[in-house]
């Protein structure tokens, strides 16, 4: 396919891989922050192409994976209220709450529907004036602008039976929390490409400046990732630490001003937001601003809002921080599988555990555990 297949050419990949292997002089650990990168890495078997001494750590950038149990319970409780049509992206349907998932709630009578965009949810609201339509908003700055525009549209058209259960999060506070965590050992970051189309590359400049770690903002095609790894290796080898932009075709330093304006208008930061496995992180979540408060499902409906501790057996937190690899979790692949997920890293195809289970079981697990044990 034009403009896509060009970024998936095996022969160029081989040459890049050889360059990376040649340039890498010591063991290096890089984290890809974004779940989209994790997915690409597994889908194309990129780890097979990287030299042994490069380890990719799969970071907390899958919004479905970091949503805490309590918030899923809140979503289910809204979905179960009479008259509600609860809309969500497909991925979020199967995320386990403390007792059930939205998919179960749907089977036992709640009107839960899968949509492809928040605008579809707004359309549903207009079509069903007698019902209250709630959209489960999830994701980083990538998806937040489309939620914001939808809320603005709802206001403009006076669609009062539409509201948003907002779980939007921001990447920079999460990165900071990761960098401050004492058990983290990383040599650099693949910066999230989609988020950066909105926020630009400037917000990452504190990473090299304050923590001395290189960042390369990367695209999502397999060649993008290989090239970005190469750029990271070069920085390390040459003793540099800076923010570099591999995804120049979509990302600039200052981001998308229009999208940012919309975000600032519709959202305001929460004091704290809980991340699964990472705990509560200051200013890492967004909620609707006062101006749009009447579209806030948390104000419209009674939500329990309870904090629920992560299941004991589940080590999603360590895995999201890159301290543990998925297969080092005691329940990986046995009690916790994509069909019976205990932790949310096993639910989404962008989650590190599901990615390993689905795509990586074959070679990497066998190889690494043979080498490690």
């Amino acid at each position: 396919m034009k403009f896509i297949d060009e970024y998936r050419q095996g022969d160029i990949a081989e040459r890049l891989a050889a360059e990376i292997a040649h340039a890498t002089t010591r063991p290096l650990k890089f984290m890809e922050v974004c779940g989209g990168h994790t997915h690409t890495i597994f889908k194309y078997g990129i780890e097979d192409l990287l030299p042994e001494n490069i380890t990719m750590i799969h970071g907390p950038g899958c919004p479905v994976c970091v949503i805490p149990l309590g918030r899923v319970d809140d979503a289910i409780s809204i979905a179960r209220q009479p008259g509600v049509i609860f809309t969500t992206f497909g991925d979020a349907m199967r995320v386990p709450g403390s007792k059930t998932s939205l998919l179960d709630a749907k089977a036992s009578g709640a009107d839960v529907r899968m949509v492809y965009s928040p605008l579809d949810a707004l359309k549903l609201a207009k079509k069903n004036p007698g019902r209250s339509v709630v959209f489960l908003a999830l994701g980083f700055e990538t998806t937040a602008p489309s939620t914001a525009l939808t809320v603005m549209q709802a206001e403009k058209e006076g669609v009062e039976n539409f509201s948003v259960f907002c779980n939007h999060i921001t990447i920079v506070p999460a990165l900071k929390a990761l960098l401050d965590s004492p058990d983290l050992q990383l040599d650099g970051f693949l910066g999230p490409g989609h988020v950066s189309t909105v926020i630009g590359t400037r917000p990452y400049e504190f990473v090299p400046a304050e923590y001395g770690k290189p960042v390369v903002v990367a695209g999502f095609e397999p060649l993008d990732i290989l090239q970005s790894v190469y750029m990271l290796v070069r920085q390390v080898v040459e003793g540099r630490a800076q923010v570099e932009n591999q995804y120049g075709r979509c990302v600039n330093r200052d981001g998308n001003r229009k999208a940012l304006e919309v975000l600032f208008d519709v959202f305001e930061p929460r004091d704290f937001f809980e991340w699964r496995g990472l705990g509560s992180i200051a200013h890492s979540g967004m909620k609707l601003s006062r101006k749009y408060a009447r579209f806030d499902a948390e104000l419209k409906f009674d939500v329990p809002g309870l904090r629920v501790a992560d299941p004991k057996a589940c080590q999603c937190g360590e895995i999201l921080k890159g301290v543990k690899r998925p297969w080092e979790c005691k329940v990986f692949g046995t009690a916790c599988t994509p069909e019976t997920p205990i932790g949310s890293c096993m639910v989404s195809s962008e989650g590190a555990c599901a990615a390993y289970y689905n795509f990586g079981r074959l070679s990497k697990i066998a190889e690494r555990s043979a080498a490690g044990s």
């Binding site: 780890e47 692949g333 046995t334 599988t337 994509p338 019976t340 795509f359 074959l362 066998a366 043979a370």
Partner: protein, 369 residues
Amino acid sequence: MTGEFTSSPLFERVERARRRKRKLRDEQITLAHGSGGRAMHELIEGLFLEQLRNPLLEALEDQAVFEVGSGEGRARLAFTTDSYVVTPVFFPGGDIGRLAVCGTVNDLAMSGARPLYLSSAFIIEEGFPVEELRRILASMRAAAEEAGVLVVTGDTKVVQKGGADRLFINTAGIGVIESPVQISAARARVGDKVLLSGTVGDHGTTILIARGELELETDIRSDTAPLHSLVREMLEEAARAADAGAVHCLRDPTRGGVATTLNEIALASEVCIEIREDLIPVREEVHGACEILGLDPLYVANEGKLVAVVAAEVADALVARMRGHAYGLDACVVGEVKAEPQGIVAMRTGFGGTRIVDMLVGEQLPRIC
């Protein structure tokens, strides 16, 4: 690539868990149980098979094959049934009527049978337009003529508004197996070649787009077609080149797509199936639509394609013969059968890496057939 597995205790632990006897733990049926993926296998093996077990059902093939009569009058029959709940009922390349005939004809054909007779039962929601029903029946008649079958018995139920969504059709079919072939998902052998009769993902993508929820416009059409004559030619060709028994497995990759079908074969035959991504034919438009929707064409349903596992020595001859058939124009070899690791489908990506192609978990697209 195989040596390291057996030495890995972790890999074995995960694989043991994966192959555990399927138990149905859920308390209620969710859409995932109808998706053609793992949840559906759990429902079938953990509940239906538990309650209704018998040697014919146990094979879990798409059709039951049994003998009737004795002596000269002995005949080997294939028997199958399927229900159709596709929405919308009309879509580019077909409709629920054509689908209801072709789906059942194909389930028969995959055993090597010549389809003979169909039954057809209709569950109709009150208010359904007679004109649409007439069009659907005309389409069934045309499909039945193409497939050389007769619809010889039927049933009609009308339910009140909301009791069903527009129209559901069930068809059952019976066919006769006239050659001594033994086709089964459990017969893949190491060294066999894996054949695909054409492009993947056409039907599922068409239905998704026909629902109009996505505001995508394409020229993709469903591939709904009866495959009995393609199968007949394949068996003839195999008999000419070696013997008809060289065709080991045949399946039509409907719900869950080619990925799920290959997994079923790998598990039933206790082999590894290795496919190559760059050999799998995907239409440009399907590739594009799936890219936008975040779907993998390997998991998207087909209604006029088959997967065959055949002895290596007949593979090229079969592909050549299939390409001469209207429903096999893009036929090709997409992979081969290896010994280890058992029960696994592995894919060499176009990018040079390898990944596991697992069974679909959860629901990808409901009500596509």
